[in-house]
C-alpha cells in the first residue's frame, strides 16, 4: 500500500514540477520536426522514382528510424539517470525523509515506490512517444519498422536498468555524483556493444571477453542492441552483416539467457539498494 502511495507521489511530483509538460512539449516538437523531414525525404524519393526504388527508400527510412532510436534511447537514459539520482539522496539531504520514515512504512516501500513511479512514467513515455513517432513515419512514408513494440520494450528496459542503477546509487551517494556516474556507465555499456562488433570483425577474443563482462555488469547496452535489432528490416540486417564494423546497426539480438540475466540484474541491484538504504543513518 505504501509503495503505491510513494509511486503516485513520484508521478505527481514530476507533473507538478512540470517535468512531464516540458519533456512532452520538446518531444512533440521533435516528432513534428522529424515527421516533416520524413515527408520531405518521401517526396524526394517519389520525385526521383526512376532512380530510387521503394526498397532504397525503405532502407533509408529504416536507417533514419534507427538513428532516431539512438537519440531517443540516449536522451531517455540520461533522463532516467537524472530522475532517479536525487530520488533517495535528495529526500535525505533536504529533510523530507526525516518526516516520512518515522511513519509506519518500510524504507523498502519508499525505494520501490519511487522506482515504480519513475518506471511507470518512463515506460509510458517510451510507448506513447515512440508509438506516435512510428505512426507519424508510417503516415508520411508508409514505412514501419519490423518489430516496433519489441523495440520499444527494449528501449524501456534499457531505461529501467539506468533507473535501478541510479536509484541504488542514490541510497548512498549525492545526486550529482550518481547522475554523472550513471550516464558515464551507460556510455561505457553502449560503446562496449560497438567494440564487441569491432572485436568480432578482427577476431579479438580478449576484447570480446572484456565487452561481455561490461555487458553483464551494465546491461543497458544489451538492451540497446535488442532495440536496434528489432528496428532493422531483414535487408538492412543482411547488409550490415556484410560490413565488418557498423556502429549503428547490429547483427543479432540479445539471447534469452541475457534477458533473464538483465531481469535478475535489476532485481539484484534493487535488493542491494534496499540493503544499503536500510543500513543508512538518516
Amino acid at each position: 500500500m505504501s509503495i503505491l502511495i510513494f509511486a503516485s507521489l513520484a508521478i505527481a511530483e514530476l507533473g507538478r514540477r512540470r517535468v512531464i509538460a516540458a519533456v512532452g512539449a520538446l518531444t512533440a516538437a521533435c516528432i513534428v520536426l522529424t515527421g516533416w523531414a520524413f515527408s520531405k525525404l518521401h517526396q524526394y524519393a517519389l520525385a526521383h522514382a526512376a532512380t530510387i526504388t521503394r526498397g532504397d527508400e525503405a532502407m533509408a527510412n529504416s536507417m533514419q528510424v534507427i538513428l532516431l532510436a539512438h537519440m531517443f534511447g540516449m536522451v531517455l537514459a540520461v533522463g532516467a539517470a537524472f530522475l532517479a539520482a536525487p530520488a533517495i539522496a535528495g529526500d535525505v539531504e533536504s529533510g523530507v525523509a526525516l518526516a516520512i520514515l518515522p511513519r509506519p512504512v518500510r524504507r523498502m516501500d519508499l525505494l520501490l515506490g519511487k522506482f515504480l513511479g519513475l518506471a511507470v512514467i518512463t515506460i509510458g513515455f517510451v510507448f506513447l512517444t515512440g508509438g506516435v513517432e512510428f505512426a507519424v513515419v508510417h503516415a508520411v512514408t508508409g514505412y514501419s519498422p519490423p518489430h516496433p513494440l519489441e523495440a520499444l520494450a527494449y528501449i524501456s528496459a534499457g531505461a529501467v536498468v539506468l533507473l535501478a542503477l541510479s536509484l541504488a546509487g542514490s541510497t548512498r551517494f549525492s545526486p550529482i555524483a550518481v547522475g554523472i556516474v550513471a550516464v558515464a556507465l551507460y556510455g561505457v555499456s553502449w560503446i562496449g556493444q560497438v567494440a564487441d562488433a569491432v572485436a568480432a570483425a578482427y577476431h579479438n577474443g580478449a576484447i570480446r571477453t572484456a565487452c561481455t563482462i561490461i555487458s553483464l555488469l551494465i546491461p543497458s547496452g544489451g538492451m540497446w542492441r535488442g532495440a536496434i535489432f528489432n528496428l532493422e528490416p531483414a535487408m538492412l540486417a543482411f547488409a550490415s552483416a556484410q560490413v565488418s564494423v557498423n556502429p549503428i546497426t547490429v547483427t543479432s539480438p540479445p539471447t534469452q539467457a541475457y534477458l533473464i540475466w538483465t531481469a535478475a540484474w535489476i532485481i539484484a541491484v534493487l535488493a542491494g539498494a534496499i540493503a544499503t538504504f536500510n543500513r543508512r543513518d538518516i
Partner: protein, 305 residues
C-alpha cells in the same frame, strides 16, 4: 519510552555514550543539552532513523522498527522540509495515508490539525511559499494529525514568534490533558520550565541530571539580606551559614543556604547587631542548574534563555 545504555558512534565521534532513561506515559518530558550533546541522535535512535551501536531503545514498549508502534507516534524534526510542491492540506493527507488513518477520519483530522496550528487560511497554498515559522507550524500539524500517543518534538519553537511559542505551549498542555506523552527537545529553557513535568539534562551523550523541575532546581539556595549598614561582625556571622557571594554596605548575599535555615540566619545577624530591612530568598533557575551541570559552561549556546 525507555533507553538502556544506548550508544551511538559516528565513526570516531561518540554521539551517545550509554544513554539510560525512561519516560512514563502521559508525561511532558524535557530533553536538554548543549549543541552536540546527543539530543537529536537519541530521538533518531528512538524513531529508527539511525541504528544504535549498542544498547536498547523502546517506544511504547516496542522496538523502533515496529510498524504498529509507529502508527501511534508523531514527530516534528528539527531540520526538516516537506514536499514544497504540495499544499499544506496535501502534506497532511499524505501523512494521514502513511500513518494508516482510516479514510473517513482523514478530512476531520486534517481540518482540526490546520485549525490547531493556525494554518486553515493557507491550507491550499503550496508549502514552498511558506515562511520558516509557518513550515514549523505545519510540522507540528503533521506530528499531531494522526492523533499520536507519543509525540517527539525537536526544537518545535525555534522559528516561531512569541505568539507562536505560546500557542505551542498550549498545544503541549492539551496533549498532556488527553494523556499523550511528549518528548520535547529544546534549547528554550524557559519553555521547558513552563510545560515539562520532568527534565533530563544530557551532556556528551550521557544523562547528567534527571528529575522533576523541583528536584533539579530545588528550593531557595541563596538569600539576599538588606541591612541598614554592614559591619565585620555581621559578615562573620553570615559566613557561618554559607558562602558569601557578594556583600556591600547595605546588602549581603549568602549562597548554599537551605530555606529552613533562613530564620536562623536572620536571628544570628540581629544578635550580631544588624538592623535588617529586607530578606529575599532566591531560587536557582533551571538555567543556573543547567549551566552548573555542564562541564564547559562557556560552550553553552548564547541563546539559552
Amino acid at each position: 519510552m525507555r533507553t538502556d545504555a544506548l550508544t551511538k558512534f559516528y565513526g570516531p565521534v561518540t554521539a551517545l555514550a550509554g544513554l539510560t532513561m525512561s519516560v512514563p506515559r502521559g508525561e511532558i518530558f524535557g530533553f536538554l543539552g548543549p549543541n552536540g550533546a546527543g539530543k537529536t541522535t537519541a530521538v533518531k535512535l528512538l524513531l529508527g532513523l539511525a541504528r544504535a551501536t549498542s544498547g536498547v531503545a523502546r517506544v511504547l514498549g516496542e522496538s523502533p522498527d515496529d510498524l504498529d508502534m509507529r502508527r501511534r507516534i508523531g514527530y516534528l524534526p528539527e531540520l526538516f522540509r516537506y514536499q514544497d510542491w504540495l499544499s499544506a492540506r496535501e502534506v497532511l493527507a499524505l501523512h494521514c495515508a502513511l500513518a494508516g488513518l482510516r479514510r473517513a477520519r482523514r478530512r476531520g483530522a486534517i481540518d482540526d490539525s490546520l485549525e490547531l496550528v493556525g494554518l486553515t487560511a493557507r491550507r491550499d497554498d503550496r508549502v514552498g511559499s511558506f515562511s520558516k515559522g509557518m513550515q514549523q507550524r505545519l510540522g507540528l500539524a503533521v506530528a499531531l494529525v494522526a492523533d499520536p500517543e507519543v509525540v517527539f518534538l525537536d526544537e518545535p519553537t525555534s522559528a516561531l514568534d512569541p505568539v507562536g511559542r505560546r500557542d505551542v505551549r498550549e498545544v503541549l498542555r492539551s496533549l498532556k490533558a488527553r494523556g499523550a506523552t511528549v518528548f520535547l527537545n529544546s534549547h528554550m529553557l524557559s519553555e521547558v520550565e513552563q510545560v515539562c513535568d520532568r527534565v533530563a539534562v544530557v551532556d556528551s551523550g550521557r544523562v547528567v541530571a534527571l528529575g522533576t523541575l523541583a528536584e533539579l532546581v530545588g528550593g531557595p539556595k541563596r538569600v539576599r539580606i538588606g541591612l541598614e549598614s554592614m559591619s565585620a561582625e555581621c559578615a562573620a556571622a553570615a559566613a557561618r551559614f554559607g558562602q558569601i557571594e557578594s556583600a556591600d554596605g547595605t546588602s549581603i548575599v549568602i549562597g548554599d543556604v537551605e530555606a529552613a535555615r533562613i530564620p536562623d540566619v536572620v536571628a544570628t545577624l540581629v544578635a550580631a547587631g544588624a538592623r535588617i530591612v529586607s530578606v529575599a530568598p532566591e531560587s536557582q533557575t533551571l538555567e543556573d542548574r543547567f549551566l552548573s551541570l555542564l562541564r564547559k559552561p562557556d560552550d553553552v549556546d548564547p541563546d539559552l534563555r
